[in-house]
């Protein structure tokens, strides 16, 4: 019998509570995001970086074997050693340098991935809440058993997923490639701690950047304005920081005046989370790494950076909550 003639049957079935409606928002957001032009290309863009990192780890593994069991290196590998200024390294025990070298590679990877995050958040995040405000979609959301918190959680997880695709996934791919191309068990034992750190830090950076773009997206209905604001927040302070670095005495550069740009703060956080200084120091060859260890700007005064990032997090969360709750006035006045 056609549905229309069956009468109105009350739906019977189990319903999840309002706390579990965010998966629906998440899956809908991911579906909509992937329908955008160039979405796949952008999300895959982190993988070439991971491949390069994997190759570097492979070369390091080869060097380690070389120092353990010296054999005549092929000419191609000699050239690469010369290119990386590592031609004197075979005289050292590479095994002790693996952890700091991997740590530094991942620290550099994070810096590159921050650029990708900039693009990903702009493409996928600018319209998350702005689009809902523009199309008056919030009444339809909140006529369902969705709270403001589950709405924001769903939106944040959408951005976390996209950001993780260009940060967490390439890092994991690079790590797994490095382990598989090396002496798997030994390498994993030596770098398991690093794996935990890069995972946590990837999620932290993805989460923070997602919250910032959501807050910006909640301020306006125009996604282009959101993108402009996002790039302004990300890039302008870098220029200001460069000016401050030149203008202020060195002892202030590691303090609050050294925590103006997001890039600097994320950089400090990266070096702390990956414990770059610890890895370099424990290798016994700190001088070999020199300024690459970043003990200058990144190692010091992490507290300022944490305070700045915590303040940004709190402000962004407040903005999101206030703006989403405030839509109700706009709707009723329409």
């Amino acid at each position: 019998m056609p549905v229309r003639r069956r009468g109105y049957h009350r739906w019977k079935g189990k319903l999840s509570s309002a706390r579990w409606t965010w998966p629906a928002i998440l899956s809908n957001g991911l579906r909509l995001g992937m329908k955008q032009k160039g979405a796949s290309l952008l999300l895959w863009s982190g993988l070439p970086i991971a491949v390069v990192a994997g190759l570097l780890f492979y070369f390091m593994a080869v060097l380690e074997k070389q120092t353990a069991h010296p054999v005549q290196l092929p000419n191609e590998l000699r050239f690469i050693l010369w290119f990386l200024r590592m031609d004197r390294i075979p005289s050292l025990d590479i095994g002790k340098l693996i952890v700091p070298m991997w740590t530094l590679v991942f620290a550099r990877l994070f810096q590159l991935e921050l650029l990708l995050i900039l693009l990903v958040q702009s493409k996928f995040g600018a319209n998350q809440i702005a689009g809902d405000l523009r199309t008056d979609a919030l009444p339809i959301y909140f006529s369902k058993p969705i709270t403001v918190w589950t709405y924001l959680l769903g939106k944040w997880l959408i951005m976390m997923a996209f950001a993780s695709a260009v940060m967490l996934v390439p890092n994991l791919v690079a790590y797994v490639a490095g382990v598989l191309l090396s002496d798997t068990v030994t390498q994993f034992r030596a770098t398991a701690g690093l794996l935990a750190r890069i995972t946590a830090h990837s999620l932290l950076l993805a989460g923070l950047s997602s919250l910032i773009i959501l807050a910006l997206s909640s301020l306006t209905r125009d996604r282009r304005l959101v993108s402009v604001a996002w790039f302004a927040i990300a890039l302008l302070p870098i220029a200001i920081q460069a000016v401050l670095d030149d203008a202020v005495p060195g002892r202030y550069a590691t303090g609050l005046l050294g925590a103006v740009s997001l890039q600097r703060n994320f950089g400090r956080l990266t070096y702390w989370m990956l414990d770059v200084d610890g890895a370099v120091t424990s290798s016994g060859h700190a001088k070999l790494f020199g300024s690459a260890a970043g003990s200058g700007l990144y190692g010091a005064d992490l507290g300022y950076s944490v305070a700045v990032l915590a303040a940004i997090t709190a402000v962004c969360l407040l903005i999101c909550l206030k703006r989403v709750r405030r839509f109700q006035v706009a709707v009723a006045n329409a």
């Binding site: 109105y8 079935g13 008056d136 979609a137 009444p139 058993p145």
Partner: protein, 308 residues
């Protein structure tokens, strides 16, 4: 009869703007029309009923519970907003399924519910097309479908027939009537009076945020004692009939139009209807039509709001 929505001195203001002012009313089972001009407070009232706004004063209960900050209640109501709130990248089916899942259904349950709801609004053939390709009427149908998917106990529809062709309107009106007969309470908000008249006699009339009238149309009309009733008569000998009726004390005024139409104004329509057949028979006057133009929603609306 159950009271689905109860409002007691319900008020809502936004700064200095009063959205709703001291409304005390009850909405029962069946279809209730919520009427008013733009800015009368209809959307405010519906937003309060669907838990999107908190009352500034007074209280409102829906299905026995307060709607504000009550997600559990929202899973028992279905809301079709006036605004075209669509995520344009989605197909109609994806849209309805997503909102069914947002109601707390599992993925499988949401797919089944969406299929049934889409079939009810006759969008089965177009459900896999993107919403951006839909006409206005199709978008309205798919919006109604998402409100129905959960089979709610209360259906709240804000201008559900806007932009629809006459056939589509008739289909949806029949659908809403069927729901009402099956035990779902339906509230339809509209400023198009004849649409509401086609669905229900039971209305709530708002003007400038205040409740102007509540109840069935003809009951409201009867209560408007200061307004005389209009009765339209069509007869070939309208002028002779006018002469006969002019002397009656229950006729307040007469107007002859285009030779065959006579419009009477009376404060006692019951007496007019009682005595008119005798007058016509005694004087051998044939009357082809007797009707009351102002026993209509439009007339009542005009009288109560002072606007045509």
């Amino acid at each position: 009869m159950n009271h689905v929505i109860e409002m007691n001195e319900l008020s809502k203001w936004y700064g200095e703007v009063i959205g709703l002012n001291n409304v005390t009313a009850c909405i029962r089972d069946g279809i209730t029309g919520l009427l008013g001009h733009n800015g009368a407070g209809k959307t405010t009232l519906l937003s309060l009923a669907t838990g999107q706004l908190r009352p500034s004063r007074g209280e409102i209960t829906v299905l026995g519970e307060r709607p504000w900050n009550n997600p559990r209640l929202l899973s028992r109501t279905g809301y079709c907003p006036e605004a075209d709130a669509f995520w344009r990248g989605l197909t109609g089916r994806q849209f309805v399924t997503f909102l069914a899942r947002a109601n707390g259904m599992t993925r499988r349950g949401a797919l089944r519910a969406a299929d049934a709801a889409i079939d009810l609004v006759r969008m089965g053939e177009d459900q896999h097309r993107r919403i951006a390709e839909y006409s206005r009427g199709m978008r309205q149908r798919i919006k109604v479908a998402q409100a129905l998917a959960r089979r709610p106990e209360l259906l709240v529809l804000d201008e559900p027939l806007a932009g629809m062709d006459p056939v589509g309107r008739a289909e949806l009106i029949a659908l809403f009537k069927r729901f009402a007969e099956s035990g779902t309470a339906v509230i339809v908000s509209s400023h198009i009076l004849h649409e509401v008249e086609a669905m229900t006699d039971n209305i709530l009339l708002l003007d400038h945020g205040q409740l102007v009238a509540e109840g069935e149309v003809h009951e409201i009309r009867d209560s408007l004692e200061e307004q005389s009733h209009q009765v339209l008569l069509r007869a070939r000998e309208s002028r002779r009939l006018a002469t006969l009726l002019a002397g009656q004390d229950y006729v307040a005024a007469l107007e002859v139009q285009d030779g065959q139409t006579l419009i009477l104004h009376t404060h006692d329509p019951d007496r007019l209807y009682r005595e008119l057949p005798g007058i016509l028979a005694d004087n051998n006057i044939a009357c082809s039509e007797i009707s009351s133009p102002d026993d209509s929603l439009e007339a009542v609306f005009g009288y109560l709001t002072g606007r045509p």
